[in-house]
Amino acid sequence: MQTEEKMTFETWPALPEKATLEGKNKFLGFWLFLGGETVLFASLFATYLALKDKVPDNTHALAKDLYDLPLTFVATMLLLTSSLTSVYAIYQMKNFNHRKMMLWLGVTVALGLSFLCLEIYEFNHYVTEYNHKFTGSAFGSAFYTLVGFHGAHVIFGLVWIIALMVRNAKRGLNLYNAPKFYLASLYWHFIDVVWVFIFTVVYLMGMVG
């Protein structure tokens, strides 16, 4: 029953993330946490929608002036693909293939980082080109808070995955760390779910007007 016990491909269970009681608890607890996060983001979306285009005067940029289709598209593709690569990582985890799992996690991190760079570029662009600032208007505050919260989740997800990779680089898979990898990938998917709504509600609907 030792969770750190050495496993082999043959003894590796079908659902390693839920094979131990701790794993089961973490799995459920994390899902519940995501249920709460859903309400958190919904509140932020609601705030954004209520304050969209609310600016003090007409010198301020509005949603339709700001957003840019190609940029959002690239960002979306990056994040979407990273979701798939993390699926691959979990696939390899279930196959007890530590090396390949690490590889796919690495790709996921790379894609996530590129997304982040793009977002930083985008924010910087808005501030310098359009004077669209966090402190400039209610619209600005709401926009940066919603998208920034998502960005913070991306950062947190990246730190988490990297930390897991570093910590377990030499250790191989066991029933102690398998749930951790699984949860990190769940988290990463959830970030993508939120992004789907961000690109739809914020960017695309912003451009439609």
Partner: protein, 110 residues
């Protein structure tokens, strides 16, 4: 809590079966990924082409919902057994969230 492997007696058979199973599942994942890509293309396309908002907004909202269903049910395995509690809680959260959003769009400015 015993840590059974969910295997029957014969490890060889089980392994083969499991490998096949997870290959198969991976195929579904690829399919849902391509569907997601496809939906994203349509959404961006519809906005790029510049249809009227009355048409585009409901369309892209629908596409987003479908895409999220793919994420949840395939990428996050919500379609699998043992996800009853997660499903209930996630959708309750979603319902509460949607009510919040509805309220903010209707009764914050009047």
């Amino acid at each position: 809590m015993a840590n059974q492997n969910l295997n029957s007696g014969n490890p060889k058979v089980n392994l083969a079966y499991r490998l096949r199973k997870s290959k198969e599942e991976m195929r579904y994942q690829i399919i849902s990924f391509s569907m997601m890509l496809f939906l994203t293309f349509i959404a961006f396309g519809a906005v790029g082409v510049g249809f009227s908002g009355w048409f585009t907004v409901p369309l892209i909202m629908l596409l987003a919902s479908v895409q999220v269903i793919f994420q949840l049910f395939y990428f996050m395995h919500m379609s699998h057994k043992g996800h009853e509690a997660p499903t209930i809680f996630l959708f309750t959260g979603l319902l509460i969230g949607l009510i919040t959003i509805w309220a903010f769009m209707k009764i914050v400015w009047w």
